[in-house]
Amino acid sequence: MMIYQIIGIFIGFLAIIWTILRFKKGKLSPGMMILWNLIWIVVIAVSIYPTLTSFIAKFTGIGRGLDLALVLGLLLGYYLIFKVYNKLETIEEELTDLVREIAIQNENLNVPDEKGDDKKP
C-alpha cells in the first residue's frame, strides 16, 4: 500500500465523522450530509482500489484514471462555488430586508451616526 492511499483513507474517515457530527448539531442539511458522505466514500474507495478510476476512465472515454479524478473534482468544485454564491445572495437579500424593516420602524428616530457623537436619548 502506498502512502497516498493511507492518507486518502484516513482523511476520508475523519471527514465522514466530521460531516456526521455537523449534521447532528444541525449545521448541515440531510441532503448535503448525504452528498458529502458519498463524496468521502468515493475518496476512500478510490484510495483502496486506485485501479477503479482507470476502469471508469476507460468506460467514459476520458483516458487516464487521474484525469477522470481531476475532471470530477473540478466539476464538484464549481458546483460548490455556485451553491455558496447562491447562499450568499440569499443571506444578503435577507439582511437587506431586515435593515429596511428596522429603518421603516424607526421613522424619524435619533439613531447615532457611525462616528457615535450623537448619543442623545
Partner: protein, 225 residues
C-alpha cells in the same frame, strides 16, 4: 397633489442639507433614506427634518445596503404617508429641484405612470458617457426597453406605479430594473429632458464604465441562477 420626494443618501454630509432645504422650500414632502453613512449625513439631515415638522421623514439603514435597497425603503415609506406622486431625487446636488415640476406634469395630466428625467449625454465626460451608453444597451438587451437615459436618478412614479413595481436589485442595477418593470407591469413611460449640475463632487459618483461592467456581470449571474 401630495408629492413625496425620496432622497437616498450615502455619505453626502456636504450636500444633503442644501438639497433638502431647496426641496422643502418648494413645498414638497420629503423622505430621506440614509444608507448606513459613516459620516454625519444622518445627524445633519435629521436636524433639517426636525425643523420642518410633519413634512419630512427620515429613515436610517443601519448597514450600507446600496442604492436599490434605499429606493425600496424610500418608496415603501412614502406609500405609508398617502402620496399621489413619488419622485426620486439624488442627494449629491446634481439635480435641479425645478425639474421636479417637469417630471410630475405628465403624471398630473394622466399621460404617464412613470416619468424619467433624461440627461443630455453631450455634456457628459467620456468615461461617464460610455458607462451610461453601456447601461442603456444592457437595459435594452436584458429588459427589452429602449430608453435614452436608463441610469437617471430623477424619476417620478404615480401612486399606482409605485405600488405595482417590484424591485429586487440592491445596488446600481436598480435603475435598469425599474425600467424593466415598466414593461412587465404594462405602465406608461415618458422621458422628459432635465438639467444636470456637474460639480467635481457629483462627478466622482454614479455610473462610470467600471460600475457599468459590474452591473453587466450581476445581470448575467442573475440569469444563470
Amino acid at each position: 397633489m401630495r408629492v413625496f420626494v425620496v432622497v437616498p443618501a450615502y455619505n453626502e454630509e456636504k450636500t444633503v442639507v442644501k438639497v433638502m432645504e431647496e426641496l422643502f422650500k418648494r413645498g414638497f414632502n420629503l423622505v430621506v433614506v440614509d444608507d448606513g453613512s459613516i459620516d454625519e449625513t444622518y445627524k445633519r439631515a435629521k436636524s433639517v427634518i426636525d425643523k420642518n415638522g410633519s413634512k419630512g421623514f427620515i429613515y436610517k439603514h443601519l448597514l450600507n445596503r446600496g442604492l436599490g435597497a434605499s429606493l425600496r425603503t424610500g418608496i415603501t415609506a412614502a406609500l405609508l404617508h398617502d402620496p399621489d406622486i413619488i419622485v426620486t431625487f439624488d442627494a449629491d446636488g446634481q439635480h435641479d429641484p425645478e425639474d421636479i415640476k417637469n417630471v410630475c406634469r405628465p403624471i398630473k395630466n394622466a399621460e404617464a405612470d412613470i416619468v424619467i428625467g433624461k440627461r443630455n449625454f453631450d455634456d457628459m465626460p467620456l468615461a461617464k458617457k460610455l458607462g451610461n451608453q453601456i447601461m442603456n444597451l444592457i437595459t435594452r438587451i436584458f429588459y427589452g426597453v429602449k430608453i435614452n437615459d436608463s441610469q437617471s436618478g430623477l424619476r417620478a412614479f404615480s401612486r399606482k406605479a409605485a405600488e405595482l413595481i417590484n424591485i429586487n436589485s440592491r445596488e446600481y442595477g436598480v435603475s435598469s430594473e425599474i425600467i424593466g418593470e415598466i414593461k412587465t407591469k404594462d405602465l406608461k413611460l415618458e422621458e422628459v429632458p432635465m438639467k444636470t449640475i456637474y460639480t467635481d463632487y457629483s462627478m466622482s459618483k454614479g455610473t462610470n464604465t467600471k460600475v457599468g461592467l459590474k452591473i453587466l456581470f450581476k445581470l448575467i449571474m442573475n440569469i444563470l441562477k
